[in-house]
């Protein structure tokens, strides 16, 4: 039998929150019996988009991670309260609204996907828009509203799904023991780390990024990845598992001795200080205003604004 599955691709998510809004649109103000009572208008979310941040400015990366009921095949909720949580033969997990009238059931999901709706006096969660699917819709509202197809619904046989998981490298956002029907693509943006850095040098007293320098990522003496600096003299190595521990990059620029930078990967991505080849002094990435900058500012104001500013600063110094 063809069963319900979903793929969420983190690389394709633009963080538009259409999925969240479409879910509210469908379930607030409407009661889809016997599937579910009305969703609470505010604060409770059947689908949510979490923002995950990596790196530091200007080497920041933002990833939107959409999370909802995973319609697990080995579902903790069903195990805990089998009278309330019932799996359909197509894989969609539903709640029996007649039995779900106790707030205690809200602790059923270790991933936080079940909540107590005080107004409806029911525990609730994503229904996979089963009321629509049963009425002929091809996908739930969240997926239909997704512009980039960062979310996709797949109705297929188990064997076909297994092939898809293999081929597309789909991964659960959990440890997998719950056997979720929602799997992710490019999950590295959420659960792995990167290291970024810039290699520069001085030519005739002027600093420039070193293009095409060899960058080797090492653990101990073993090179586990190799790349080259880009047009800005920068390198970017991603998908490093958290808690990898001590690592190093070895930079080899043409005509220069290899340079090594050690760093440690715990649970955060790393932006290395600028790596300078040859003589000179590399500057940090973001420079806070110093005396020189303040003077520069005055030099470039209109004459009258500069005059006002000089007076104000003179007054401040007094």
């Amino acid at each position: 039998m063809k069963k319900f599955h979903m793929i969420i691709d983190l690389e394709k998510c633009a963080g538009c929150f259409n999925c969240f809004l479409a879910c509210k649109d469908e379930h607030v103000g409407n009661e889809w019996l016997p599937y579910t009572k009305e969703q609470q208008k505010h604060d409770l979310k059947w689908i949510d988009v979490k923002v995950h941040e990596r790196g530091v400015a200007p080497y920041t990366e933002i990833t939107y991670v959409t999370q909802t009921c995973q319609h697990c095949d080995n579902a903790p909720c069903e195990k805990k309260y089998p009278e309330v949580f019932q799996k359909r033969s197509d894989g969609i997990m539903l709640i029996d609204i007649n039995k779900a009238n106790d707030p205690k059931y809200a602790d059923a999901c270790p991933y936080g996907c079940v909540s107590w709706n005080e107004t409806a006096q029911n525990v609730q969660k994503c229904t996979g828009c089963a009321h629509l699917i049963d009425g002929g819709w091809k996908e739930p509202r969240c997926v239909q509203a997704c512009a980039t197809r960062a979310m996709q619904t797949v109705f297929c046989e188990d064997a076909e799904w297994d092939r898809l998981v293999e081929r597309q490298g789909l991964k659960p956002i959990t440890d997998g023991s719950n056997k979720p029907r929602i799997l992710y693509k490019n999950l590295y943006m959420y659960n792995k780390c990167f290291v970024k850095g810039v290699v520069s040098t001085y030519v005739d007293g002027l600093e420039e990024g070193v293009i095409d320098a060899k960058v080797e990522l090492k653990i101990g003496n073993e090179t586990i990845y190799e790349c080259r600096t880009d047009y800005l003299g920068e390198f970017y190595i991603d998908r490093i598992p958290k808690n990898t521990g001590k690592m190093a990059v070895v930079i080899t620029a043409e005509g220069a001795e290899p340079l090594t930078r050690d760093f440690e990967i715990q649970d955060k991505s790393i932006v290395l200080d600028p790596i300078l080849i040859g003589e000179g002094e590399a500057k940090a990435n973001v420079i806070l205003p110093n005396e020189h900058a303040l003077q520069q500012a005055l030099d470039h104001m209109t004459s009258y604004d500069a005059e006002d500013a000089r007076k104000a600063f003179a007054k401040e110094k007094k």
């Binding site: 239909q144 047009y231 500012a297």
Partner: protein
């Protein structure tokens, strides 16, 4: 043909006309009775009046009269002298044309203008009869509700439009069940394909929306809807107690529509008769409901034209620096200084090596109105091997989505960065010297400045580093790559917008953007403006009006109607005879201090902006009555507090607000007229199509989607369509025909269809059932030429737009730019003539340090540079608050201790230095105001820069003293803090992104 046969034909024609007319009129009473019999609602309409109506030819050779009594109609041939309403036709020909079931609009307008069609009788009765006839034509739709698509489960599926894209609307039992993006069916046109880098790219067969659309159901059913006309409780003009000081404080009581409308109509007359022309002020929001007929360019324009009103002079807020700066480099006034977009998507995908998004965030702004159409294409970038750079002080949503290098200069220093790029190109010879020689003017003057020959400062990457905070190496390497590759520059979300143009000397940023692209050969393959947001290969030759083409405004001067609609939609012209206007940015000063001065501007010419305008205009009265229509606006205006103060001043005797939601300015009104959303009335439009000043903006879309906007549900409460409210006031002023030609909103919707190329495609009956049409893209070999390619190759302009107007060419028409030299001018000749010593806008583009940046006067007290670009989940104020769904999005508002705070973003280092942490309630302040926000600590801003969006929908002070000194604003109206100073002294533009603030933890207790 001989004269005899012409005469014979005329006689035969006359007889025929008479037969048709008499036949139509003979059957009219029978028809009306029959319709009444099958539809109770129509029967009620028939029963509204007991009157006698005469229809006749002027010479009385033919007549038929009708007696309406208690819902039935009797018809009699002949002339009845006692008829209270008379419809007189000059002759048979006119009678036939006007009474024919498909009316000849041109004949109707002509006949009415020439007095060949006359309607006599008391207004109410004449209007009722006239509209009854129109209702017969629309019976199928208005009474039998024969529109939309019936779904299998009994729901009806309608179509509507929003600022965030068109939608399907599912309705059951008079209630909206759901709204969804539109999936196309097999009948709809297939998409285009772009071949690039050996691959084929085709958009999916659907139309996208964003939060501004998907949020709408919660906005329609918002508890903040105004459902009844209201009066401020202590507004009692009859007894001379207006209590203007209590505006924004005292409550409201429900009044009847008649009371409200009678008062407004009487007040318009009283104020104009007492004070003279100019005393009534009309103000319309820019991003109100979607739809060509309901839009401010249509209904409110016609209304204010009819009553005579002082109007707001809008600063070109989306364009600012482009309109006041870039026009002096390359013209383009018709687009307010923005570049041409044509077919740049294909050219970029095929030929560009890199896209530089500079102050460009189409993922937030949707370009303008374009849902997520561009998102789909930007998703292709990773398959195209095109490098991406984002330059913005804030890591905006486009930077988070499209992987690339984020460069974050300090706010308002972008010009220094750009100048340093040009500096590298000049020193290293990395620019198109041939192009610069042949296609630009006075490059040497700019080169002297950039390389320091004029002021001794060589503006190198090192020079800019202290100013921008961006390392010299980054700029040097970027410049080298850019100078040796084909690069598209996406300056602003759509090309020609961008928050960098809304800061101190934003003119210089827009100008330098043009300078950079010109140095690289603007218009050559792969070298252009754009970021895959605008310029898709769609059919530009199929005509359907955009909203700025004027709807039924009849205003041929200030909308696109003069160019696009004059020959397509015959309608009686309208004109506002009062020439006084007030700068929106100076409204508070104008009204409270009694005078204001600013520079004019025109889409037609460059020179227009060298003239001053002033308030009050000669011979005009000061404003006494303020009539606001459209959405909440206060949160979009710099130093917002001024507006609150202004509303409470006694200069304004009356404030009327026609609003959907109780928020923002509506809370300062004396009389509130409740309007409904477009989901509760008729309209028509095209996805993301503005027309007028953003001609062919549908080229942001993957499909041209033209749609009827079905009336999905009845208006909530007693709310009414804006159109109907204007009509009712017009009726009270004797203007009923003048305002609408007696047509309903539905009639005008149909007339827009008739004015467009849609009539060639499908009959109205089909269009109104399905609700939309997808215009097929042109075949690949008929696509538009690429923007500016004509210019690069020295050809006559061949892109599909008729601007600049002929007189703006100084040489051969159609050849070159809208500049005296016809070339891109590095040194602007008009600016040189106007004022060569203007330090705020020199003849060449220069870096001018902000009056409110590092090292400026306010910097002695406030060290954080605030930028406040557009919000992502609301279209300006449209969507924010109102208890809508988006308020639950953590990137939009932050729920802390029961209050939904506006979000304020700060770098962890700055937060730590102030002892602040994520989700703290913070007070953001400077000399201009204090605003409470929820703090988000994030690496999306570098140290020293802070970010919080403009456009909070409400304005509320903790002390309940709106506009009061030292008050604390609690809804997040961040514009309280931004400066009112213009971007440059001769440029009427806002500089909201030049703002210094400080931040501290809020210790003032719970906020409610």
């Amino acid at each position: 043909m001989s004269q005899t046969s012409v005469g014979l034909k005329t006689t035969v024609q006359k007889l025929l006309d008479k037969t048709i007319v008499s036949g139509t009129l003979f059957s009219l009473d029978k028809l009306l009775n029959a319709l009444g019999a099958i539809n109770a609602e129509f029967k009620q309409e028939l029963a509204k009046m007991n009157i006698t109506v005469q229809l006749k030819l002027r010479d009385n050779t033919y007549g038929r009269w009708f007696r309406f009594k208690d819902g039935t109609v009797e018809g009699h041939d002949g002339i009845n002298k006692d008829a209270s309403v008379e419809m007189i036709f000059e002759d048979e020909d006119i009678a036939r044309r006007v009474t024919a079931l498909i009316r000849d609009q041109a004949a109707f307008a002509n006949a009415a203008k020439q007095g060949a069609l006359v309607l006599n009788g008391p207004d109410a009765e004449a209007m009722w009869f006239s509209s009854l006839l129109l209702k017969v034509f629309a019976f199928d739709v208005l009474y039998l509700k024969n529109y939309g698509t019936k779904m299998a489960n009994g729901e009806m599926r309608y179509v509507q439009g929003t600022n965030g894209g068109p939608l399907f609307v599912y309705v059951k039992d008079g209630k909206i069940v759901r709204i969804t993006p539109m999936d196309f069916d097999e009948e709809d046109a297939d998409p285009w394909t772009i071949k690039a880098h050996g691959k084929k790219f085709t958009p999916p067969k659907r139309v996208t929306t964003n939060a501004c659309a998907q949020n709408f159901k919660s906005m329609i059913y918002s508890p903040n809807r105004i459902l009844y006309p209201m009066k401020r409780v202590d507004f009692d003009p009859k007894n001379g107690n207006r209590n203007t000081q209590n505006r924004g404080i005292s409550g409201y009581e429900r009044i009847s529509w008649d009371e409200a409308l009678d008062f407004v109509a009487d007040e318009i007359k009283r104020v104009r008769q007492t004070y003279g022309c100019g005393a009534v002020f009309g103000k319309a929001g820019g991003h109100h409901m979607w739809g060509n007929i309901g839009n401010s360019q249509s209904s409110s324009k016609r209304f204010f034209n009819c009553i005579g009103a002082t109007m707001t002079e809008l600063n070109p807020d989306s364009w600012e620096g482009w309109a006041w700066g870039a026009v002096h480099t390359y013209g383009q006034t018709a687009r307010n200084g923005s570049p041409e977009p044509y077919n740049t998507v294909e050219d970029c995908m095929q030929n560009a090596d890199m896209i530089v998004y500079w102050s460009s965030d189409p993922e937030t702004t949707a370009g303008v109105y374009a849902g997520q159409e561009g998102t789909i294409r930007r998703e292709w970038l990773k398959d195209l091997d095109i490098k991406v750079v984002h330059i913005d002080p804030y890591m905006n949503s486009t930077a988070t989505f499209v992987a690339g290098r984020w460069i974050c200069p300090r706010p308002n220093t972008d010009v220094a960065l750009a100048v340093a790029i040009a500096n590298v190109w000049m020193h290293e010879g990395l620019y198109d010297k041939d192009y610069v020689k042949k296609r630009t003017y006075a490059f040497d003057k700019w080169e002297e400045y950039v390389t320091g020959k004029t002021d001794g400062i060589d503006k190198t990457p090192e020079w800019q580093e202290d100013i921008t905070g961006v390392p010299a190496r980054t700029v040097r390497n970027l410049a080298r790559y850019w100078g040796t590759h084909k690069v598209y520059l996406a300056a602003g979300g759509i090309g020609g917008f961008g928050s960098a143009c809304r800061g101190a000397f934003g003119t210089e940023w827009a100008r330098v953007m043009v300078c950079l692209v010109a140095m690289q050969g603007y218009g050559k393959p792969g070298i252009n403006f754009g970021g895959l947001q605008y310029g898709t290969p769609l059919d530009t030759r199929f005509y359907f009006p955009g909203y700025a083409d004027g709807g039924f405004s009849g205003d041929y001067m200030t909308t696109g109607a003069g160019v696009n609609m004059y020959n397509r939609s015959p309608q009686s012209p309208s004109l506002n005879s009062e020439t006084q206007s007030i700068s929106r940015l100076l409204l508070p000063e104008a009204l409270m201090e009694g005078h204001a001065e600013w520079n004019a501007r025109s889409s037609y010419t460059v020179q227009a902006q060298f003239n001053k305008k002033k308030y009050p205009a000669n011979g005009h009265a000061g404003v006494k009555m303020y009539y606001n229509y459209g959405g909440s606006n206060i949160g979009t205006q710099p130093e917002s507090k001024r507006y609150a103060k202004m509303f409470r001043c006694d200069t304004l005797e009356t404030i009327v607000n026609q609003s959907i939601w109780f928020e923002g300015e509506a809370k300062f009104a004396d009389i509130i007229l409740p309007a409904c959303t477009n989901f509760e009335r008729w309209d028509i439009g095209e996805a993301a199509s503005c027309g007028g000043y953003i001609d062919r903006s549908f080229l942001q879309n993957n499909y041209r989607v033209i749609f009827v906007q079905h009336k999905c549900i009845e208006p909530l409460g007693e709310s009414k369509s804006d159109f109907d409210i204007f009509q009712e006031i017009a009726n009270r002023l004797g203007l009923w025909q003048v305002f609408s030609e007696g047509n309903s909103q539905y009639d005008w919707v149909k007339r827009q269809y008739e004015a467009s190329d849609m009539v060639k495609i499908m009959p109205w009956s089909k269009f109104i059932k399905k609700g939309y049409y997808v215009v097929p893209p042109l075949p690949e070999n008929r696509r538009d030429p690429v923007a500016m390619n004509w210019y690069a190759e020295g050809r006559k302009k061949d892109t599909p737009e008729i601007t600049p107007i002929p007189a703006e060419y100084y040489g051969q028409y159609g050849m070159g730019m809208q500049t005296p030299s016809g070339l891109i001018e590095f040194e602007s000749q008009p600016l040189k003539r106007f004022d060569p010593d203007d330090e705020e806008r020199r003849p060449i583009c220069t870096y001018i340090h902000s009056w409110e940046g590092v090292g400026s006067v306010p910097y002695t007290k406030y060290k954080l540079q605030l930028i406040s670009p557009h919000a992502k989940f609301s279209m300006h104020t449209m969507g924010d608050l109102k208890d809508s769904f988006v308020n639950d999005i953590d990137e939009h508002r932050m729920l802390i201790d029961g209050h939904r705070f506006w979000i304020f973003r700060m770098n962890p280092k700055d937060a730590e230095a102030r002892g602040l942490k994520d989700r703290d309630i913070v007070e953001v302040y400077n000399d201009r105001g204090r605003v409470l926000c929820g703090l988000h600590v994030t690496e999306r801003v570098p140290e020293g820069t802070v970010h919080s969006c403009e456009s909070c929908a409400d304005y509320k002070t903790l002390e309940n003293d709106p506009g009061g000194e030292n008050t604390v604003e609690i809804m997040g109206c961040i514009n309280n803090l931004t400066p009112k100073r213009f971007i440059a002294k001769n440029c009427h533009g806002m500089a909201a992104n030049s703002c210094l603030v400080e931040v501290k933890k809020w210790e003032g207790g719970k906020v409610e």
